[in-house]
């Protein structure tokens, strides 16, 4: 029980994928201009990441290792992720056309979200079990969701501020992300994992 909590805490706060591992920066900046879009993106990423990390663990354990095909790891994982993304894309298009339009290109681009592949590969490297890899995937996605939604809130506020011309848009967004990253450094060492 404690271990589960620690894994979650570690992947959400201490080893946050975006702010301490600097993975998944592209969707982090791309889909954070509105809180609504960010929430949609968060759910999509949470789904893809959790399922991808479990499926890829299964594939790794029961296909790649028995067949000694570890060198095909990346290809397999990308295939899994791409299929999942296709699936969620169809689902969102059906259930929420507005969110589909809002996410635009970033929805199919979850495929290339390095955080997703990163979780899958890190699970293999850290020799996680089935349960912990699922947890780790979910925690990483929750961490991504947390900072994405926080960041979207901040950006909505920045959007209506008289920011100097030179820093409008991405420059200030990146500076803000940097400041958030500094703040998240406060969590370092909180969980030794």
């Amino acid at each position: 029980m404690t271990e589960i909590a620690l894994i979650l805490l570690s992947s959400v706060l201490v080893n946050n994928f975006v702010l301490t591992k600097f993975l998944g920066i592209c969707p982090f900046l791309g889909t954070s201009s509105k809180v609504e879009t960010a929430v949609g993106m968060s759910f999509a990423v949470m789904f893809v990441m959790t399922v991808a990390s479990t499926v890829s663990w299964l594939v790794q354990q029961y296909v790649l290792i028995p067949l000694e095909l570890e060198y095909l790891q990346t290809i397999f994982f990308i295939l899994i992720i791409a299929s999942l993304v296709q699936f969620i894309e169809m689902m969102i298009h059906k259930t929420s056309p507005v969110l589909y339009q809002g996410l635009g290109i970033f929805l199919p681009l979850i495929t290339t979200n390095c955080a997703v592949l990163g979780v899958a590969i890190l699970n293999v490297q850290q020799e996680q079990t089935f349960l912990t890899s699922a947890l780790y995937g979910f925690g990483a996605a929750a961490g991504f969701a947390l900072v994405l939604i926080l960041f979207a809130g901040l950006r909505e506020r920045i959007e209506i501020s008289p920011v100097p011309e030179l820093f409008k848009g991405s420059p200030l967004a990146l500076i803000t992300a940097g400041m958030m990253s500094l703040a998240f450094m406060g969590f370092s060492g909180l969980v030794k994992f």
Binding site: V63, S83, Q101
Partner: protein, 194 residues
């Protein structure tokens, strides 16, 4: 050699499974038509004026939804409509090609009207009433000011008049302060490229 076969077979099998799952998903999540068209259509001002190059608001909505038309062709809708469409479509706003004119109303000079009904046929919202050989009249509350009735009139008896300003419809402008100007600057900028 064997391992290569394994690799090909497993990859192929996996791709097949993924393909089947996706095919089923495609069936389950199949959508009829384009839900964006109706959403876009509600944003348009429904003047049916054809200034966008399409024969009405709905055709323009269809064209925008399919990506065929740009978001900035609706003249009477002005900047606000353009921004809303761009927002809904998730694309960058574009500059308007034409400034929207002040809202106008068509008015038939009745003593000159010969009762030919051509303007009645031209009106896209049935805002002109009258029978053949009788004076025609524009229902002011229904007129969208699209000017489509001007052209067909053989005796040029239709004028476009400014819509009267009503005290009930008067609204406060933005406060005239430095900060408000900043806000406007931002809006212009937003409309420009951001």
């Amino acid at each position: 050699m064997i391992s290569l076969l394994y690799a090909l077979a497993s990859l192929g099998a996996f791709a097949l499974v993924a393909g089947i799952v996706l095919a089923i998903a495609q069936k389950v999540f199949h959508i009829e038509g384009d839900p964006m068209v109706d959403r876009l259509d509600t944003l348009l001002p429904q003047t049916q004026c054809g200034q966008c190059g399409y024969p009405g608001c709905k055709p323009y909505a269809i064209a925008v939804a399919s990506g065929e038309a740009d978001v900035n062709h609706c003249v009477p809708g002005g900047e606000r409509t353009m921004l809303q469409i761009a927002d809904l479509m998730g694309v960058e706003p574009k500059d308007l090609e034409e400034e929207a004119a002040a809202p106008m109303l068509a008015f038939v000079r009745e003593d000159e009207c010969i009762g030919c009904t051509l303007c009645i046929k031209a009106c896209p919202v049935d805002a002109i009433i009258g029978a053949p050989k009788q004076y025609h009249t524009v229902i002011a509350d229904h007129c969208t000011g699209c000017t489509l009735c001007i052209e067909p009139c053989p005796v040029d008896c239709i004028d476009m008049l400014m819509k009267p300003e009503l005290i009930e419809h008067w609204s406060w402008p933005l406060p005239d302060t430095k900060r408000a100007q900043l806000g406007h600057e931002r809006r212009e900028q937003h409309a420009g490229h951001s």
